[in-house]
């Protein structure tokens, strides 16, 4: 059994790769089997390096180049997890780059998979950014696609391609609209959502951090553990379970910043959450307040996708997975 992950050295791609390597009962519709080969395809090498595993290979390349994709998405490929993307702020700042990578890259992956003639499973990382404009307070499974960012437009167009390539029998695709993933490790990035991880991550390591949005601001959240589970579940579900629509909003939890901070206090103590300052950044606040924060996600639940039980669970998972089980109290 062979798997390719585009964006395979990124934060989610890396964790997905490591989790897949642990599995010995994967089933992508051709019977259970063991993983023989996993290619992490990305623009850069894994940092830190992946643990040694003879089944795992990192290949650096450009996801928009069909020839480079053909070299890794070979006829023995059972599943492709397509995570490679220019992030939201990047696609907004450089429109052409976003179109090339986020829409063109998806098209290239789908076309190379189609050439195989084997109808491989393709699991695509979509986003709640496909929703926007005038939407109901609670996003429904059939709320219209009306993205208000180039990133969202590229993800929404990619979903439409996933649907149509699947309907035509070229691939067996699935698209997951992911909540904001917290807690991300490492440094803050340029995403407007980066504070949602920072306000947990930095205080647990003894550092002060500023929260640029008000305590009332709510967000739609999912942990890295659950994201990885969702990708694997999506890849293993039979095609028949999806019906005429290959996209699904993955269940998350809606938490205000205040609820996130309260959970941090319960897990790690008042001294830790006291390391958070609240100096508003109107630019960040304006972006974040436009994001949908509540989703019915009934279809996702019906399909067996699971949200985290609580913010405490998310924080505990971060401490275990990324901080070696301890924090600076």
């Amino acid at each position: 059994m062979k798997i390719v992950i585009t964006g395979g050295t990124g934060f989610v791609g890396r964790r997905l790769a490591l989790k897949l390597l642990e599995k010995n009962d994967l089933d992508f519709g051709r019977g259970q089997g063991e993983l023989d080969s996993l290619v992490a395809f990305d623009v850069g090498e894994a940092d830190p390096p992946f643990p040694d595993d003879p089944r795992l290979e990192t290949v650096t390349g450009d996801v928009t180049d069909p020839d480079q994709l053909r070299a890794v998405i070979t006829p023995d490929t059972d599943a492709v997890f397509h995570l490679a993307a220019v992030v939201s702020a990047g696609a907004e700042a450089d429109f052409d780059l976003g179109m090339r990578v986020n829409l063109g890259g998806t098209r290239a992956v789908l076309d190379v998979c189609r050439e195989l003639g084997t109808q491989p499973r393709v699991v695509f990382a979509s986003s709640v950014a496909v929703f926007g404009g005038l939407v109901p307070d609670v996003i429904q499974d059939d709320t219209h696609l009306n993205p208000q960012t180039s990133y969202g437009a590229q993800k929404a167009s990619s979903e439409l391609l996933i649907n149509d390539y699947s309907r035509k029998g070229f691939v067996d695709g699935r698209a997951l609209r992911l909540p904001t993933v917290v807690v991300r490790p490492g440094k803050p990035n340029k995403a407007a959502s980066t504070f949602a991880s920072s306000i947990i991550r930095e205080p647990l390591q003894g550092d002060r951090v500023n929260c640029p949005v008000g305590e009332d601001q709510a967000m739609w959240l999912l942990s890295p553990r659950r994201v990885v589970d969702a990708f694997i579940r999506a890849a293993e579900m039979p095609a028949a379970d999806w019906g005429p629509h290959r996209a699904v909003s993955i269940p998350g939890i809606t938490h205000s910043v205040r609820e996130m901070v309260d959970a941090l206090t319960r897990v790690a103590g008042q001294a830790v959450s006291d390391r958070i300052d609240f100096k508003p950044d109107p630019a960040i606040q304006a972006i974040v307040s436009g994001w949908p924060m509540k989703f019915a996600a009934n279809r996702g639940r019906d399909l067996g996708f699971e949200a985290d039980d609580s913010m405490e669970e998310i924080i505990q998972g971060f401490i275990e997975d990324e901080l070696g089980g301890s924090f600076v109290s």
Copy 2:
């Protein structure tokens, strides 16, 4: 004032061109003006030829070729009506052609317009085929995009591009989801909807015709006159009227085949409608019965778009516009 129509020698493009040439008070956001130049860009020459008009030029070319587009969409272009497309059945039969023309063509038109730096109005012919799968009985303005054909997927993706290019200020775009246009002149084509025109057109010219679907089958209809009015209205509306969503379902009328035939009887007499046979074609019936047939279209009405008053009006318009005012009774 200069206008370019892609698909400009097709049935709707031709009528739009002729109507625009009659107008002397067009306003595409830069003040009222007279039309100096209209380019009908298409794969083939107009047939029959356009009437002589020094302002009108037909240019044959490929809508996916940026260089050919640049030759017609020049910096003095105020508005582009982008109608060029591979039809539904054609895009389903030849996936690559449909992707190239219906998605790639839209992308090329938008990119060439963007290069101008003048934010021209772009009016795009979308389709109710962007809806499908599990939808409510009456399609709402915020019903989700879930096309079940490649044509619909390409139109839906194009709508997303129109939205995003407009949001970014590259163009000032508008996308019209058009009902089935009846009564089309000429010969039946390969579209599954062709019978909706044939059952009116052929009997009025003394010919027998078969209706391949049951009398109960309903459709969502708009006349050529109203389609042309909708395109011009859409092009003249201020950007502010559109808000954060540049696509709109154009109001139509829902009529069953029986209601269409009854209207034909009232307009032209029983002898004319007796020329319709009803031999069902299960393949056509299967396709047509999957089409949405009722639309709230509240937004379209709010924006001032108008459906036909009746099927009789549609039939009378056809007799006047295409049959020289008379029919074979």
